[in-house]
Amino acid sequence: MDVKKEAFMKCLGSTVRKIMEGIQVDFCGIQEIRMRVHTPLFIRYRGREYAVTETGGLTGDIGTAYRITRQDIKEAVELISNYSMYAYEEELRQGYITIAGGHRIGMAGKIIMDGRHIKTMRYISFLNIRLSHEVKGCATDVLPYLLDEKSRIYHTMIISPPGCGKTTLLRDMIRQLSNGSCEREGVTVGVADERSEIGACYKGEPQNDLGIRTDVLDGCPKAQGMMMLIRTMAPQVIAVDEIGNREDLEAMEYAINCGCRLIATVHGDSFQDIQDKPVLKSMVEKQLFDRFVLLNNRKKPGCVSSIMDGLGKVIWQQEGRRSCWKDLD
């Protein structure tokens, strides 16, 4: 069995595991599994939602679907946390746990507050298991626009709404830059992976392929992570996901002044959208970035809609479906 599939199966309780083992679809196409107590088991498969029957069949009729019990959730939570909820206090406060294989499990239930802060979560009743699938090669078409004449990466910002594949694109860019190619030497990449989304580290070991010259600081706040990487690992390129606050801006300026190249992602619908946010606007005005890559999911997740230079001038624009990831077809 595929390692990622095996890791995913291990986080399911006996009943749901049996159902998922009997499911007759391509595992690579499953994007997420939704488990909500007393409601049907749903999966999102190739962009569409299906209910799952007790025998593992996909159906649109929720009356015939298997209904998740409290025991199913209890078992899954126990397995997801490796029988050790106490070891995931911080993750529970954030609302998700990353497991082996890089899969990310979102949880919801009763929040226990400690003053103004979230202390922990009890009575977990809702799970969203987002399966991690790498899309190797998805950055191949984009990368030539992001390299200068010496084949060094420009300071690049990937802009996209949630769920459009910016982390997947970033991950593949890291992998390709780190590994190098016939035309381009590999470079040392430092990844400040605050939410374990890029490398999906499990016990410090990246579950996703980030290349042979990549160092990952897992679970470390981005701003501190960038500083630490510069001081300790001497990266030529620093990659961070979902930047947005002033501390990030300061750390990025420091990184750029240290001679590092920067790749970052940010939530946004358009170039204009990021200019409406004070911190991001300041980054644009200071011309910290030389390239902006805009993604959308109008046709499917992962479509590059345009690439702009540091001044916001479009240097490439989507035509047809050429830039969408082939692997998601």
């Binding site: 078992e75 946390s81 490796n82 050790s84 909820m85 106490y86 070891a87």
Partner: protein, 179 residues
């Protein structure tokens, strides 16, 4: 002639009986001592487990394996079995694994019914709560366990004496009745 032979047989039988009953008494006393040793081993397990959880932040399977590696004999086997079952991803809950492995272990154990009950109850508390509550629940268990151990330690010399004496006396009594 036959009468003399019968008497010799009765005397020999009585000696065997007294010897057997005395041995039974000694073994019972040994069981009491064994229980105390076992309790002390289990107490050490939970103390180490507490350390692994609190200071190393290990997840339960790793913590149990790590403690198991430092133990010896049947307790080591027990911990390694539990850790192995948790790691193999069979989908069983911790409570189920804990109960099933402990029940196997109890077949060869010197622990009494109350000890077993207390130990089994830990299957409902380990792994579930946050770190502070986790260590607190181990502390609570250790407190109860140590009280039980102290009682047992105090009673041990008397229990051992009674078991040995009872063995010999009951053997003698039966021998007298036989002869």
């Amino acid at each position: 002639m036959l009468e003399g032979f019968g008497l010799i047989m009765r005397i020999m039988g009585s000696i065997c009986l007294v010897g057997g009953m005395a041995l039974g008494g000694i073994l019972t006393a040994d069981r009491f001592r064994g229980r105390l040793e076992e309790m002390s081993g289990i107490s050490r397990i939970f103390l180490m487990l507490r350390g692994e959880v609190e200071y190393h932040g290990l997840v339960l399977p790793e913590a149990i394996r790590s403690v198991g590696e430092r133990m010896e004999g049947s307790l080591q086997e027990l911990l390694m079995e539990i850790a192995g079952k948790m790691e193999d991803g069979s989908g069983q809950t911790f409570g189920v694994i804990w109960r099933s492995e402990l029940n196997d272990y109890f077949a060869y154990s010197n622990l009494n019914k109350e000890d077993k009950k207390l130990l089994l109850s830990m299957g409902n508390h380990l792994g579930y709560l946050d770190k502070r509550m986790q260590t607190a629940s181990i502390d609570l268990f250790l407190e109860e366990w140590k009280t039980e151990m102290e009682d047992s330690r105090k009673r041990l010399p008397g229990q051992c004496r009674i078991a040995s004496c009872l063995g010999i006396v009951s053997g003698l009594l039966l021998a007298v009745i036989m002869i």
